[in-house]
């Protein structure tokens, strides 16, 4: 499964393996093809973009993910205020040219689907629902995870220090 490790100090570590990444990308590509969505993002609730599909050149998707996560978080608070026990499961923003559909994928992730107003919402809902089921399946599938210590070693730490000195002159 996607490793969501709780560390000793309470912080969270999410590690996605190469295989999971490929499988997730496949699901998103299929969703993009079926819904003709212009952009699709998968992100985690902290605002971290995981992967994207569709036309992403003209959109800053890092910012879109951060904003969408806050959108989600803000509406969860709204849900609490109006007496909902759970979070709102989906958010929909209607525009003149484009609509944005956001839906959570389990507790830790969410999907952002940006689509043309000519595409019916019902279609997007059906295929997004199917994609979410597939994503949850990928997240659940057991697989030996990668070890983060392989990616962040002593060398990395010292080289990062040098590169920061260089960049932040």
């Amino acid at each position: 499964m996607v490793q969501v490790k709780k560390m000793k100090d309470g912080s969270r570590q999410v590690i996605l393996t190469a295989q999971q990444f490929d499988e997730i990308t496949k699901v998103l590509s299929e969703l993009a093809a079926k819904t003709k969505a212009s952009t699709i993002l998968l992100a985690d609730m902290s605002g971290q973009l995981i992967t994207q599909r569709g036309h992403t050149d003209d959109i800053n998707t890092a910012i879109l993910s951060a904003l969408a996560a806050s959108d989600f978080a803000a509406t969860s608070e709204m849900a609490k205020l109006v007496g909902e026990d759970a979070k709102f499961k989906l958010l929909f923003h209607e525009g003149e040219k484009r609509n944005v559909y956001l839906s959570n994928v389990g507790d830790n992730f969410f999907l952002v689907v940006v689509f043309d107003v000519s595409v019916t919402l019902g279609l997007v809902r059906i295929y997004t629902k199917k994609a979410i089921q597939n994503l949850l399946k990928i997240f659940r599938e057991s697989e030996k995870g990668e070890d983060a210590s392989k990616i962040i070693d002593k060398d990395f730490t010292s080289m990062l220090g040098d590169i920061l000195d260089e960049s932040f002159k």
């Binding site: 490929d22 890092a62 951060a66 070890d147 990395f156």
Partner: protein, 194 residues
Amino acid sequence: MFINWALQEINLKIVYYGPGMSGKTTNLEYIHRKLDPSLTGELVTLKTKEDRTIFFDFMQIEVGRIKGKKPKFNLYTVPGQVYYASSRKIILNGVDGIVFVADSQRDRMEGNIETLLDLEKNLMESGHSLESFPWVIQYNKRDLPNAESIQVLQKKLNFFNVPSFEAIAIKGIGVFDTLKAIINLVVQHVQRQL
């Protein structure tokens, strides 16, 4: 922290926290202005008409590849005003490191302390604690005539003896030192936990 193995990306979330008007947004604005445009994305600020941060500011920094790995730093600020408490809590979700931007002015001491306690409370709710979490303090506005002495600020705010920096963020003094320190601290912290 989010690691994407396929793309060899390491993503860290750093939040600038502090009382209203202490200079959190000013820090980000300076970083954005000074960094080579190839290293940084757009700076998004969600401001009210009065130029106060209403939800957060956000920017991403990439410093290139290190041994094939691509570290990315997502910098956020929180709104400082007391009544945006729930926004602050939301932005701390998934945080890896914190810069506490304190206002050095003598009459802002109470605001600093109050916000630090608010930070501790919010961190506790997600299972963290200031005692063991990577964070640094920036004493901003050192140039103002009513600035409190560093000794007093240290005594009242830096009870865990975390790295601290004097700054005049509007002129960029101390801004990059603070950012470098928190990034290094977060990476060392992550390494220690592995």
